[in-house]
């Protein structure tokens, strides 16, 4: 017989462990629409991911200061998405720049799914 508190803790742990699976129903098509789309609410010079990354994630992008950006598609750049801290750092900055807010977990999962699918 499992004591009540332990049972609650176990349930909670299962819910937390299960949460990523539930939210990770990543949708590459939604990610594509998000990546290619024009957004509002962010900074005027960066209305879209494509402002710097171009509409082809397999191609080189360019920062507004003129510096090349390596391709975002994992197929064109094996180093992409290998460093979670780097991924979160740039989602935070660039979502603020493009949308004026942080991206949701679902938005990030969708974009990653898109960039890993092409």
């Amino acid at each position: 017989m499992i004591p009540g508190t332990t049972r609650t803790a176990l349930l909670l742990a299962m819910c937390i462990a299960g949460a990523p699976t539930l939210t990770a129903a990543a949708d590459a098509a939604a990610g594509q629409a998000f990546f290619q789309g024009t957004h509002s609410g962010g900074k005027p010079d960066t209305p879209s991911c494509t402002t710097c990354h171009t509409s082809d994630p397999r191609a080189m992008g360019k920062t507004r200061a003129g510096k090349p950006i390596d391709p975002m598609a994992a197929s064109a750049n094996p180093n992409r998405f290998t460093d979670p801290a780097k991924v979160e750092k740039w989602f935070l900055r660039n979502c603020n720049s493009v949308l004026g807010r942080e991206c949701t977990a679902n938005e990030k999962a969708d974009v990653l799914a898109y960039l890993k699918s092409i």
């Binding site: 900074k43 960066t46 920062t63 200061a65 935070l92 900055r93 603020n96 720049s97």
Partner: protein
Amino acid sequence: MSRLRVTLAAACTIAFGAAAFAEENEGGIMPVQDPTTQAECSACHMAYPPQLLPQESWHAIMADLSNHFGEDASLDPATARTIENYLVSNTGSMRGVDPANPPLRITEMNWFTHEHGQRLRNRAAGDSRIGSISNCVGCHGGAANGNFGD
């Protein structure tokens, strides 16, 4: 060999060595030496040498990284502090700069506008290979190594 002669030889080596370096490095500015500053700043643009702006400008720029020339360039506080310390301790005050209202752009500095007139600005804006007047290496191939010679 007398001690005097050794000293003289050493002095000459230093003097001529320095002269040769200065000649090679004409237009030279010490590039960023701090690895954190180099890595973080050069993610989007050449890591601009601290000497190109006065201390007041670097303080102001580092105080508002979430609005960094039209983009969010936020850093964790520890990293930002490291970079700010490096920048301000490798430059000084500059003549003609209002400390209460310092320029935020290198391209606004008098020395910069003197060196880069309208013709060069138009060229930079109109040439997609350069893209921006703030892209030093678009014209100065050795800029990242501190060589801004034409």
